[in-house]
Amino acid sequence: MMLVNYIGCVILMVLGLYTVVVKKNLMKSVIGLGIIDYGVNILIISIGYQKGGTAPIFTPGEIKPGTFFVDPIPQALTLTSIVIGACVTAMALSIVIKIYKKYGTIDSTKIRRLNG
């Protein structure tokens, strides 16, 4: 259906995972988490799309069998997911700020006092 969207979403997720796995700076890890979330959101939206469908907003009585509209559930799921992504980013950034105050660095190879 929406091949470009799906390929784009997969690329975003892979790039996000690459950032979290490879980059040593904690800020870049947080950005990577965000990119993974955005990729998933694009996937959710693309799934609901129907070619030629209208927006799913109706007054009562306007709907008849045969009305062709885009699936509304993925849109609701996407809104939820966007909010969750924003909260995760906020929490991660606040933890990074406090880590910087405590450790003096945000290089992940130096923040490893809990190991072994």
């Binding site: 997720m13 995972l17 979290v20 796995v21 490879v22 980059k23 040593k24 904690l26 890890s29 988490l33 993974i36 979330d37 998933v40 996937l43 959710i44 799934i47 699936d71 559930i73 993925p74 799921l77 939820t80 997911s81 969750i84 909260c87 995760v88 929490m91 991660a92 933890i95 990074v96 406090k98 880590i99 405590k102 450790y103 992940s108 190879t109 923040i111 490893r112 006092r113 809990l114 190991n115 072994g116």
Partner: protein, 640 residues
């Protein structure tokens, strides 16, 4: 009326978390009252539900907002309580109650406590909601809430450096897991256009496995594995359980990794119903075996009490996963029994660690010692917990481990697969290594010599001891009366897992399942016999014998005419141990000095795994991607 209990339980916790910060910011009593009430209500409601769900076999289905299914399609969010959900719900509700009770006194030395209770009640509400819900996206939302609350609880004591680091790693790995879960849910929605687990289970049998659903299977399995903290995503659990305040650690170790186990059971048995395939069984059993072995060997390396307990928690979850992966009724009963026992004894051990931390101020094994005389009740509770986790009779760990050994070896005999016999051997060896590890801890913390800094240690207050005693009594009861516990709790849960048809029918209206599931539902194997290994009459005889023996020893022991203490006669207190006539320094053998023979022989292995747990968050993320890759390759190769 019974219909509303599950939702009431979850909503009470969420509402109370809101009220705590409203009324409890300045008033300590209000905070305690709100938190305790909110923790007791779910426990009471779950216990009320035991009779209809477990004993009578009803399945409660509840549609939020009364949005019943329309012409065979589920359009609302549904809560479905069958025996498996209620089993986990009981465990969770008990943990919430005990943890809240313990935290009233334990956390009294920290400040900003209303924030602690907000987070704790949110965590509890999320876990309870996760095990009671019947909707897949609702499960994902609960996973997100619980990750948040757990991360914030881990970082609670942010004046120390350990919690912040642990919280960041937990957030990164947990977030990766949630993203995978969400992708899996969305892919299933795309194929089947429904989010209700019962309906997904039915429709999947009709559409069969195409590449999209196999991909979704792999992703969902990864997400739940990250939640259950099995190898290789386990280092996060070790860090988080160490850094969190102990009452939160206990809640996490007892409840949160059970959500991963619950998710895996639902996924494999109800939604996808792939447990009959031997490839899936082999995969789950392999992962479980590696988890149990790696957990216990890492635990032998540790210097910190709570970190050691965390690694043991990982190892015991490995046992549960192995037992569940066998796919037989006996394996399932062993796994579920062990999950219940794990909550009880691991919760108790964490509470003991918290008591030691509260009283002595440190959890470093090299610095503690000789606390048995100062904290006798904690010592006895710790020994009960240590013997339960090692599986010694007559405590509860023995029953569940015995069921698991039997299940594994029987599976080996039935399927002719030699690998399962090796799994049995590894299980017993891991059990003995667990015993070794706890002997090390008891010698390092409770027995041995008291270091001079710990002279003023006293027993912890009563309100902290009560939850520990409750759990100890439950451990002993489930060990001595395994038959009753089995028929009351485990058997209905096992039957519920093995009969997905009833699950689907209860949610979507009866007769729905036949339209989709062509094969007849195989009746679950009910012939699980506990082989009467410990019949009460023998227990009585044994007790009489024991009593007679004790009396003999006590009578003979009193022969010491005029027993008096010699310690005040000795001029120098340092001669407490006679050490070849030389003046002795503080000479405690414990902590890292123990088990040299074992550590020396396996030094390459221990060095290797110690190096691998490097503490860098990128490595842990790499392993999460690795396990995702393994699952995805497996589902494409073996399931299509």
């Amino acid at each position: 009326m019974m219909q509303h209990f599950p939702v009431l339980a979850v909503m009470t916790l969420f509402l109370a978390s809101f009220l705590v910060v409203l009324f409890g910011s300045r008033n300590k009593v209000a905070r305690g009252v709100i938190a305790m009430t909110a923790s007791t209500v779910p426990l009471v409601l779950m216990i009320c539900l035991i009779k209809p769900v477990m004993i009578d076999g009803q399945i409660i289905s509840y549609w939020m907002g009364n949005w019943e299914p329309v012409s065979g399609w589920a359009i609302g969010i549904g809560y479905e309580i069958d025996a498996l959900s209620l089993f986990f719900g009981l465990i969770v509700a008990l943990t919430i109650f005990l943890s809240c009770f313990y935290s009233l006194k334990y956390m009294s030395r920290d400040d900003t406590l209303e924030k602690y209770y907000v987070l704790f009640l949110m965590l509890s509400g999320a876990v309870l909601g996760l095990v009671l819900t019947g909707d897949l996206f609702n499960m994902f939302i609960m996973i997100e809430i619980l990750t948040f609350a757990a991360v914030a609880l881990t970082a609670f004591r942010n004046n120390l450096d350990g919690p912040l680091e642990a919280a960041f790693k937990y957030l990164v790995i947990g977030s990766i897991g949630s993203s995978f879960t969400l992708t899996g849910v969305i892919l299933l929605y795309e194929q089947l256009h429904t989010l209700n687990m019962a309906q997904i289970g039915a429709l999947l049998q009709k559409t069969g496995m195409n590449p999209t659903t196999a991909f979704a299977f792999g992703l969902l399995l990864t997400g739940f594995s990250i939640k259950a903290f099995i190898v290789p995503v386990h280092p996060v659990a070790a860090d988080a359980y160490t850094a969190a305040p102990t009452s939160a650690s206990m809640a996490m170790a007892s409840m949160v990794n059970k959500t991963g186990v619950y998710g895996i059971i639902r996924l494999l048995y109800i939604i996808f119903m792939t447990m009959g395939l031997s490839s899936v069984q082999n995969l789950i059993v392999t992962i479980g075996t590696i988890t149990m072995f790696l957990g216990v060997t890492m635990a032998l390396n540790q210097h910190d009490f709570k970190r050691l307990l965390a690694f043991h928690s990982i190892s015991q979850i490995g046992y549960v996963i192995t037992a569940i992966g066998l796919g037989t009724a006996l394996g399932l009963s062993g796994g579920l029994y062990h999950a219940m026992n794990h909550t009880l004894f691991k919760g108790m051990l964490f509470l003991c660690a918290g008591a030691v931390l509260y009283a002595a101020g440190t959890t470093n094994l090299d610095k503690l010692g000789g606390l048995a005389k100062k904290m006798p009740q904690t010592c006895i509770i710790f020994l009960i917990g240590a013997f339960s986790i090692s599986g010694l009779p007559p405590f509860n760990g023995f029953v569940s481990k015995w069921l698991i050994y039997q299940a594994t070896y029987e599976k080996a005999a039935e399927s002719g697969n030699f690998g399962f016999a090796i799994v049995t051997v590894i299980e017993v060896v891991v059990s003995v290594l667990t015993l070794a590890s706890f002997i090390k801890v008891s010698q390092s913390v409770f027995f041995g010599e008291l270091p001079p800094e710990l002279e003023n240690v006293r027993e912890v207050p009563l309100s902290m001891r009560i939850p520990m005693w409750i759990m100890a009594v439950l451990c002993i009861i489930t060990g001595v009366l395994p038959g009753q516990a089995y028929t009351a709790l485990i058997q209905p849960a096992v039957n519920a897992v093995l009969s997905p048809v009833k699950y689907i029918d209860a949610m979507m209206g009866s007769g729905y399942a036949e339209q989709f599931i062509s094969a007849a539902d195989a009746a679950p194997d009910k012939s699980v016999v506990l082989a009467g290994y410990w019949q009460p009459i023998n227990w009585l005889i044994l007790f009489v014998v024991l009593l007679a023996a004790f009396t003999i020893v006590a009578l003979l022991g009193k022969n010491s005419r005029g027993a008096r203490s010699h310690s005040d006669e000795v001029t120098d207190g340092k001669y407490a141990t006679f050490y070849s006539g030389e003046k002795s320094e503080y000479s405690m053998v414990g902590g890292s000095d123990m088990f040299w023979g074992l550590k020396y022989n396996l030094r390459h292995y221990f060095g290797f795994i110690g190096e691998m747990h490097s503490g860098v968050v990128n490595d842990y993320a790499l392993w999460a991607v690795l396990i995702a890759a393994v699952y995805l390759v497996f589902s494409f190769v073996c399931l299509l």
